[in-house]
């Protein structure tokens, strides 16, 4: 395996462990306000410093990892379900079904995704669930296209004809045989999608329309960092680095999977 891929796996694993063990790793309660220690620089008692309400930045970042990863995973999970289902249906049934689904994808791709997400959030309230659903519902098109292309070539194979000749139903053929065999390239798209979803969530939270304080997310911590720019560099450095490194990790992992697929 490529060195960069291993690096990617380490990053991904590291942040998943942090997210899982957040309550153990966080030295303070992430919501604990401490008026006497407002905006203190990193020190031995607060290794990442404190924010403008005296809350421990390290603890907030650790809990923020939970939020960011959860949004990333669930949003991409939703996108995968929609993308795999629509892509498989379009590829398997072809003709007008394929025509309608492909036109729908073309139309969805016309919208600047970030605009569409913001518009829907303006109508609904920016709760974490809404954000995950909206990101998922606007990012499935690539997965659907990949799935369709795979199924188009798979459905002409002998083993599918064999299945059909013993009377297997369409649903069984699609779910048991076609989708599992078509998953490999989709997996690359899913891994890269997690990175994308984390970036979108943190952008939204940074703009104040994503995860709402006091719930910590890397994006909204950075937004507080902007407000104290010049007075607390640690408020800008650490959350930015966390987003950057996490996204880098998933991108490297995705690229590693892609290379392996090309070789095999």
């Amino acid at each position: 395996m490529n060195k960069l891929t291993i690096f990617g796996i380490c990053i991904v694993g590291f942040f998943i462990i942090i997210a899982i063990f957040a309550p153990i790793l966080a030295p303070y309660n992430p919501g604990q306000i401490d008026i006497e220690n407002i905006l203190t620089a990193p020190s031995s008692s607060h290794i990442f410093g404190t924010d403008s309400l005296g809350r421990d930045l390290f603890s907030r970042m650790v809990y923020g990892a939970r939020i960011s990863l959860m949004v990333g995973f669930i949003a991409v999970g939703i996108a995968s379900l929609i993308g795999i289902a629509l892509g498989a249906i379009a590829g398997y049934y072809g003709k007008w079904v394929d025509g309608i689904i492909m036109r729908f994808i073309d139309i969805m791709l016309c919208f600047p995704t970030f605009f569409l997400i913001l518009a829907v959030i303006a109508l609904l309230e920016p709760s974490i669930i809404n954000i995950m659903v909206i990101i998922g519902a606007t990012s499935w098109m690539g997965i659907a296209r990949l799935m369709r292309a795979e199924i188009l070539s798979l459905k002409e194979r002998d083993f599918i004809y064999a299945e059909r000749s013993i009377g297997a139903s369409d649903l069984r053929i699609i779910i048991r045989h076609l989708i599992p065999n078509a998953m490999a390239p989709v997996l690359v798209s899913i891994t890269l999608g997690i990175a994308g979803a984390i970036l979108v969530e943190s952008s939204l939270s940074f703009l104040g329309i994503g995860v709402q304080p006091p719930t910590p997310s890397w994006g909204n911590i950075l937004s507080e960092g902007k407000a104290v720019m010049g007075a607390g560099w640690w408020m800008m450095l650490f959350p930015g680095m966390a987003i950057f490194i996490t996204v880098l990790g998933y991108n490297l992992l995705g690229e590693g999977i892609r290379e392996r697929l090309l070789k095999s």
């Binding site: 791709l109 919208f111 600047p112 970030f114 605009f115 950057f244 991108n251």
Partner: protein, 323 residues
């Protein structure tokens, strides 16, 4: 060529209809009426304003009639009146579009000028230290959040070193400046936004250029060109480059929605009065007519970008016309 463009325009009409249907459904996605929501979040909304919104969307009529009426207004680019300042939505959008387009245009030029040479040189020196260094650079480019990069540049170049202005597109004393001073003043304000906007796209284009060039270099006609004794320079720049550039044209068209979407982030950070900032302000104020208007106009701009890319592709690649 004419027939090709005609076919594309028919396809465009279908997409345009689809865009209106999706935008229309977005309006109706909220539980209850948008008017209730408006009142719930903003107690300042008067009964009269609520009536006006209800009338604007014709919320008392059946859904298909609402859609047809909305479509009729849309055909005249009439998106209604902004809640915030009671000005026509289209007028507000039109005065913001040029600023966003100018920034996108400059960042597109920057992306091409830097990204394409990086991609070509990486492909030619595949596997070298330079190529690996650039690969790492590309991965970093993909992963750096735009808003974080903006903040860092603002903090260092703007606040600490005071080299460039960090907010707006012109100085306070702009009106007193002469012609050239005005241009210099505006350029200074636009340097950071253009840099930030170009940064993300740069990684994508250079990566794409690299893989396109790599696949062209493996083609038979390149071997033929080498075999007949052409210099390496002629092989690379006369034969390979022309063919490798073609798919990049399409990618440029496809990157338009990303660039327009990204404008929300850097325009709101740098307080640039463009379409992205207008959209952000409207979302914060729940100014529905403006939100819907910008959504549709953003999608139309994307459509035009794709059409332009496809037509220029067809213009340079003779194989397209045969289909």
């Amino acid at each position: 060529m004419g027939k090709y463009i005609f076919k594309r325009i028919i396809g465009l009409v279908v997409l345009l209809l689809g865009i209106t249907i999706i935008t229309f459904s977005v309006i109706h996605i909220a539980p209850g009426r948008p008017t209730d929501l408006e009142a719930q979040f903003n107690p300042k909304v008067s009964m009269e304003a609520r009536e006006r919104i209800a009338h604007l969307y014709g919320l008392d009529k059946p859904l298909h009639i609402q859609y047809i009426e909305w479509l009729k207004r849309f055909a005249r680019f009439d998106f209604g009146i902004s809640f915030m300042d009671s000005r026509p939505v289209m007028e507000k959008i039109l005065e913001r579009i040029p600023i966003t387009l100018i920034i996108e245009l400059f960042s597109m030029i920057l992306i091409l000028l830097i990204g394409i040479p990086i991609g070509i040189s990486s492909a030619v020196k595949e596997g070298s230290f330079y190529d690996r260094f650039m690969t790492v650079f590309v991965f970093i480019g993909f992963a750096v959040p735009t808003f974080w990069l903006s903040l860092i540049l603002m903090d260092f170049i703007g606040v600490r070193w005071g080299m460039l202005p960090i907010s707006g597109i012109k100085s306070l004393e702009f009106e007193k400046f002469g012609f050239f001073e005005k241009i210099i003043d505006m350029s200074k304000h636009l340097i950071l936004p253009v840099l930030v906007s170009a940064f993300g796209g740069l990684a994508g284009i250079s990566r794409y250029m690299r893989s396109s060039m790599l696949s062209v270099l493996k083609q038979d006609y390149i071997r033929t060109a080498r075999a007949k004794g052409l210099s390496e320079k002629d092989v690379l720049y006369k034969h390979a480059l022309k063919n490798a550039l073609l798919p990049v044209v399409t990618i440029l068209g496809l990157s338009v929605p990303g660039l327009i979407g990204g404008s929300v982030i850097f325009e709101s950070i740098f307080s640039i009065p463009g379409m992205g900032r207008l959209f952000y302000e409207s979302v914060m104020a729940r100014d529905y007519p403006v939100i819907m208007g910008v959504l549709v106009i953003g999608a139309i701009l994307t459509l035009l970008g794709n059409l332009l890319a496809d037509i220029s592709y067809a213009a340079v690649d003779p194989r397209i016309k045969l289909e």
